[in-house]
């Protein structure tokens, strides 16, 4: 059996990739992908620990996360479409109107 630490490392790796993607990329869609990557990294960690401790609560949380992620994607994509309509671009730095 693959030890839990492998999954956790993988999850950490995925999370890091997602976080970096969010921070360094300017394309909104890519940023979304990064976000999804972080969410799924968390899911992986949940599942891995659920298996280790024999507790289904972890798997239950994953379902919640998937649901929330689906809702978030729906809202996020709607936002992106609206942004593209107004700015004709999906560049995240173009929408800096709230600059103080």
């Amino acid at each position: 059996m693959v030890p839990t630490s492998f999954y956790v490392f993988l999850a950490a790796l995925l999370f890091t990739i997602g976080a970096v993607t969010v921070l360094v990329r300017r394309n909104t869609l890519i940023i979304y992908m990064g976000i999804e990557l972080m969410l799924n990294a968390a899911n992986l960690a949940f599942v891995a620990f659920a298996r280790q401790f024999g507790d289904v609560a972890g798997q239950l949380f994953v379902f919640f996360v998937i649901t929330v992620a689906a809702a978030e994607v729906a809202v996020g994509l709607a936002l992106i479409v609206t942004i593209f309509h107004t700015k004709h671009s999906v560049d995240i730095d173009a929408i800096s109107d709230l600059k103080g």
Partner: protein, 711 residues
Amino acid sequence: MFLETVAREGATFFHLAPLAVFVPLLGALVNGLIGRRLGERGVALVAVTASGFAFLVAVLQALSLTVHPEGAVVPVAEWITIGELRIAWAQQIDTLSVTMMLVVSGVGTLIHIYAVSYMHYDVRYKGDPGRYARFFAYFNLFIAMMMILVTGDSYLTLFVGWEGVGLCSFLLIGFWYEMDILGRPSTANARAAMKAFVVNRVGDAGFLLAMFLMFWFFGSLQFREVFEKVPEVAQAQPWVLLAITLLLLLGVTGKSAQIPLFVWLPDAMAGPTPVSALIHAATMVTAGVYLVTRSHEIYAAVPEAQAVVAVVGGLTALVAASMAVAQYDIKKVLAYSTISQLGFMVAAVGMGAFVAGMFHLVTHAFFKALLFLGSGSVIIALERAHHPLPEEGGHGHDHDHEEHKAHGEHEPFNPQDMRIMGGLMRRIPVTGWTYIIGSLALAGIPPLAGFWSKDEILLEAKHLQPVVYGLLSAAAFLTAFYIFRQVFMVFFGQPRSEAAAHAVESPRLMTGVLLVLALLSLTGGFLNTPWFHPFGQWLEHTLKEVEALPFDPLVAGISTGVGLVAIGLAWLTYRGTFAWSRWEQDPLQSLLKGLFDFLQASWHWDDLYQVVFVRGYRALAGFLAFAVDWTFWHDWFHDVVVAGGFRRISRFLSQPIDLGIIDGIANGLGNSVQGLALTLRRWQTGYVRNYALAVMFGVVGMLVYILWAIR
């Protein structure tokens, strides 16, 4: 007969006494409220009935007194109750007050009857029903007030009446308030009324102070209680009695027109003639004499005050008589004559000859009312000749106005000016003969009323105050002179104007009253002759003093002789004027020159008061208004202290406090917030990734902290 039965069986009518006040008061109310609708006849009926009823009540009191000479005190109402202090309104019915009641209501009723006709013929009346009713409302109110004055059983009640008659006097002097005595638009009458009122206030202040002293040292204002304590106070604090008597004298000089406060009475002639007869000759002005007589127990304890009163009276008698000599106004002569005769009375009561004073008061009421009403009859006779009333078939006032326009500014017609009279004896014989009877009575020719009363005063004066005797004898000489100067100017010689030539005798109502008063002036003296003196015995019940001095033929002879000589001199002096058809220079003026003008200007007494008091008062008022009020209070205190101080405080509050501290705090707060915001805004880049990085650092930081904390 009813009254005899009453007198025999001793029933008393004392309890009816309040009616003497309330019925005239009711008459005044009726005429004052609905008189306008009653018409002349209704108004006259109400007024004369009310006054006549008061006379009836007075007669009933007198009848009761014949049986119960000690009199009674009739309570009318609780008046003032403050803690221990209780002052009831009660009427004191005794021979003294009933004498006054009889004179006031008796002569008053006669004058009421006269006025019914007189006011109708007054040219200024012009058929205004409100005016007619108002006149009689005031007249009845006067009778009521006079009754309060003479029947009050305390100085306070007396004072109420005293002020009440003063008010009526004011109202009636200024009865034609919108015109002068010639009927021209003017404030002269109103000013005369004001003068009378203000001068009387001076005297009233004295009266009030006397009452305060009395209350302080006697603990009461009731006659009986005060008099009981007189010997006690005279022992302990004699100066109190002196002060009270002298202050009362000040009140007397105001009301009874004595030196130095007599100046209002000549001006009071601005009122209609019946007013002059009733208020300013027969009744109100004698209130001062009554006051002294009523206070005889106090005065008897202070011989010094008595001397002062006597000298004041004697001087007034002489001075006023001298002023009367040089007047041209028919009523002014009588006004000064009244002052002079009041001087006789005041001198008499001052000497302690109370019966003589009261006797002269009564006879004077008869003959001076007669003279005044006679002068009113003369005035009306001239007015009716000058511009007859429309109902008598003349053009009336329109004619008069046209005449004025046509001739431009000519001498206005003054029906009171004796210079345009003359020869009236033939035109108005009843008035003329009654006037001569009144004049003889005033001059003191026996056996008319004035002789007996004046003789009694002179007799007492000769024994008590020889100086005053001299003054009064000289005054008696001038009296006979001025009154016959007037008689000769008015009734003898040729008419000196159209009006005098066509004068018409007054209506029967007026001449009837004149005849009654003439009868009283002829016979009134027999009330108290040296041999038969029921009047003295009557007053003895109240005054207690009286032993009548024996008849002194020397005094009587001198006074009669002086009177006759004066009449003769008046004849010699004015004989020359009988041929004149226009007035030329007064023969007396040619004789006396400057002295005549001095007398005519009434010794410049008014001018003196004008300079000293009126101008002094104006100067004081000006000083107070401009220097004290305006310059000091307004300019300095208000502008500098109040407004300036306020301005300085508000400037201090606005500049350093408000602008400096308050605004400093508010602006500083704003500025610092702004600066903070400028610093913080740099964090708000608007780049989502910056925020995400911040979030990440935050999360990492929190994680590190948590991990470190749970280590």
